[in-house]
C-alpha cells in the first residue's frame, strides 16, 4: 500500500466525522467508515511520532555534486546539532 499523505489522511478523517455526524448511514456503513477513520488517525499519529526535525544545508562535494550536511545552528537548547 502506498503511503498515505498526512494531509490527505486528515482530510479524509474530517470527511468521515462529517459523514458520521450527518447520521444518515446504516450501522454497517458507519462501522466501515469508522474503521477507515481509525486507520487515518493512526497514519497521522504515526507520521507525527516519526517525523524528526533536521536542519541541513546543501554543499558541493569534491566532485561538484550537491550533498546535504547538517547546518550548525548554534542554538543553546539544541543538543543534537552534531551527528
Amino acid at each position: 500500500m502506498a503511503e498515505i499523505k498526512f494531509e490527505k489522511a486528515m482530510n479524509r478523517l474530517e470527511h468521515i466525522v462529517e459523514e458520521l455526524e450527518k447520521g444518515e448511514l446504516d450501522i454497517d456503513k458507519s462501522l466501515e467508515i469508522f474503521e477507515e477513520g481509525i486507520k487515518m488517525s493512526r497514519v497521522c499519529s504515526k507520521k507525527l511520532n516519526e517525523a524528526e526535525q533536521k536542519i541541513e544545508k546543501l554543499t558541493k562535494n569534491q566532485k561538484g555534486e550537491l550533498v546535504t550536511e547538517l547546518f550548525p545552528t548554534g542554538v543553546d537548547e539544541d543538543t543534537d546539532d552534531e551527528d
Binding site: F34, G37, L48, Q53, T59
Partner: protein, 458 residues
C-alpha cells in the same frame, strides 16, 4: 575709440600665417581630442533622446551647466539592460570625437548604465511591466501552500540574520519540521544567478514541500537581486510553491509579485508557512475523538432500537440473543481503538473512558460463546424486524424522544451548565481554553448568561 578698434582689426601681420581649411582644422581638433580622451567615463542626464530608423540612438547628455551630444550605435544599444529615456541619470563610457560633417564634438557611447535610484526604479518598472504583460503575476498561476509542510527549502545567505530568524521561528512552532538551506549570495555581483540556481536545484529534489526565498532588510541596492529577471523566472518556473521573504515592509520586489505568497520578512514567512505542531495534534485528537463519540452514539442508537424491539410484546423471549449484534459492534470498536496510538488518546482522558465504557456496556459474557452462524441468523432477523419498524414510523418517534432524553441538555435541569467561548462558539472544557477578559456564554436549563472571565484557574 571706434577708429582705433577698426585699425587693430584691419592690421595684417608681416609673416603670412598658416591658413586652415575647415576640414583641416576640424581634423586636427578631432585628432587632439581623441588623443586626450581615448575613452572617458561621463555621468549626466539624458535629454532629447531619439531613435533613428537605422537603430542608432542620439541624445544629449547634460548637467546643469553644459551639454554634450552623444551617439549610441545599434550594436551597443541592443545589449543594454534598460532603455534610456529623457531625464535618466546615467553613467556612460564613451570615446570623445568630432563629427566632422557638422563640426560637432560628440561622444560615441560604448557602455551605459542607469545611475541612482531614479534609474533603478525605472529598470524595476520596466521589468515589472514586461513580466506582468507576460502573465507571470497572474493570480491563476499562484500555487497554494501545503497545509502541513514537513520539509522547507530555504534559499538565502547561510550567514545572514534571515536564516537564524527562520530556524528560530520554525523550531518554536513546530519541532517536527525540517529545513534544507541552499546557501546563496543575496547581494552584489552574481547574487541573482545564485538565488535562481538555488530555486532550480531545490526543485530537482522530491522531498521539499515549500520554498522560502529571501533575505533580511537592506537598501534598495542591497535587495536588487530580488528584482532581477533571472530570479523572477526561477520563481515562476518553480513547481514547489514559493514564498518570497525580502525584509522590507514598504516596497515590493519583483520576486514578491511572482511568488505564490509574499511575506514582509523572513520570520513572517516562517510563521505563515509552518503551522504549530500543537494545533495539528489538537486537530487530530479532536477529529478522532469526535469520530469515536459519533460511533458510540450510533451504537447506542442501534442498541436502543433493539431494546424497543425486545419490549414489543410479540417478541419477548430471545432477549439475550438479540443483544449479541450490539456486543459484536462493541467489540469491533474496541479492537479498532486498541490500534490507535496511545498519544492520540492521551490528552483527552475521556477518550479511553469512552472506549472503556463501550466495553463495559457489552451484555452478558455468557453469550460470547454463541456461534457465528447463530449470530448471522439473529442479525438477519433483526434486519427484518427493523424494516417492520420502519413501516411504523410513529413508533420510531417514540425512540427519538427517548434518545432525546439522553441529550446533554437535559442534564442542565439538574443544575449543570454549558460554557461556550463567544469567540469560537465551542464548548469550554478546560480553563486553558480561555483567557482572562474573554467573554463566554453560559447556557442554563432556563435561558443563558453572557459573562466575562475574571480569572482562569488550572
Amino acid at each position: 575709440m571706434t577708429q582705433a578698434q577698426s585699425q587693430t582689426a584691419g592690421h595684417i601681420p608681416e609673416e603670412q600665417p598658416h591658413v586652415y581649411t575647415v576640414s583641416e582644422i576640424t581634423r586636427d581638433v578631432r585628432a587632439i581630442l581623441e588623443a586626450a580622451f581615448e575613452t572617458a567615463w561621463i555621468e549626466g542626464e539624458i535629454s532629447n533622446f531619439r531613435m533613428a530608423a537605422s537603430g542608432h540612438a542620439y541624445f544629449i547628455l547634460k548637467d546643469d551647466k553644459a551639454q554634450i551630444k552623444c551617439v549610441l550605435f545599434r550594436g551597443q544599444r541592443v545589449g543594454m539592460k534598460f532603455t534610456p529615456e529623457d531625464g535618466d541619470q546615467v553613467l556612460l563610457l564613451g570615446r570623445v570625437t568630432v563629427y566632422e560633417a557638422r563640426g560637432d564634438y560628440q561622444v560615441i557611447v560604448e557602455a551605459m548604465e542607469p545611475k541612482g535610484l531614479g534609474a533603478l526604479q525605472k529598470a524595476f518598472e520596466q521589468l515589472k511591466e514586461r513580466l506582468a504583460k507576460e502573465g507571470l503575476f497572474d493570480e491563476s498561476r499562484k500555487q497554494s501552500l501545503p497545509e502541513i509542510p514537513w520539509k522547507i527549502g530555504v534559499v538565502t545567505s547561510p550567514t545572514g540574520a534571515a536564516i537564524r530568524d527562520m530556524i528560530h521561528v520554525i523550531r518554536r512552532r513546530n519541532p517536527k519540521t525540517s529545513i534544507l538551506l541552499y546557501p546563496a549570495k543575496v547581494q552584489g555581483e552574481g547574487a541573482a544567478e545564485e538565488i535562481a540556481r538555488g530555486i532550480e536545484e531545490l526543485n530537482k529534489r522530491k522531498d521539499i514541500d515549500v520554498l522560502i526565498v529571501g533575505r533580511g532588510g537592506g537598501s534598495i541596492e542591497d535587495l536588487w537581486a530580488f528584482n532581477e529577471e533571472v530570479v523572477a523566472r526561477a520563481i515562476a518556473n518553480s513547481k514547489i510553491p514559493v514564498v518570497s521573504a525580502v525584509g522590507h515592509e514598504i516596497d515590493y520586489t519583483i520576486a514578491d509579485f511572482v511568488a505564490d505568497l509574499r511575506a514582509p520578512t523572513p520570520s513572517a514567512a516562517a510563521e505563515l508557512v509552518v503551522p504549530k505542531l500543537n494545533d495539528i495534534v489538537q486537530d487530530l485528537q479532536y477529529l478522532t475523538h469526535q469520530m469515536i463519540e459519533r460511533m458510540e452514539e450510533d451504537i447506542e442508537d442501534y442498541r436502543e432500537r433493539l431494546r424497543y424491539l425486545i419490549d414489543r410484546r410479540f417478541f419477548r423471549e430471545p432477549r439475550q440473543i438479540l443483544e449479541v449484534p450490539t456486543q459484536r459492534l462493541d467489540e469491533m470498536v474496541q479492537r479498532l481503538l486498541r490500534g490507535l496510538d496511545q498519544w492520540v488518546l492521551v490528552k483527552r482522558g475521556n477518550l479511553t473512558q469512552v472506549a472503556h465504557r463501550l466495553f463495559q456496556a457489552s451484555p452478558q459474557k455468557k453469550l460470547q460463546t454463541l456461534s457465528e452462524r447463530r449470530i448471522d441468523l439473529v442479525a438477519r432477523l433483526v434486519r427484518r424486524l427493523e424494516s417492520q419498524i420502519k413501516l411504523k414510523g410513529e413508533k420510531l418517534d417514540g425512540v427519538a424522544k427517548r434518545l432525546n432524553a439522553l441529550s446533554p441538555l437535559n442534564v442542565l435541569d439538574r443544575g449543570y451548565s454549558i460554557t461556550t467561548s463567544t469567540k469560537t462558539e465551542k464548548a469550554v472544557t478546560s480553563s486553558k481554553q480561555v483567557k482572562k477578559g474573554d467573554s463566554v456564554r453560559i447556557r442554563l436549563a432556563q435561558g443563558q448568561l453572557d459573562a466575562t472571565v475574571d480569572e482562569t484557574i488550572e
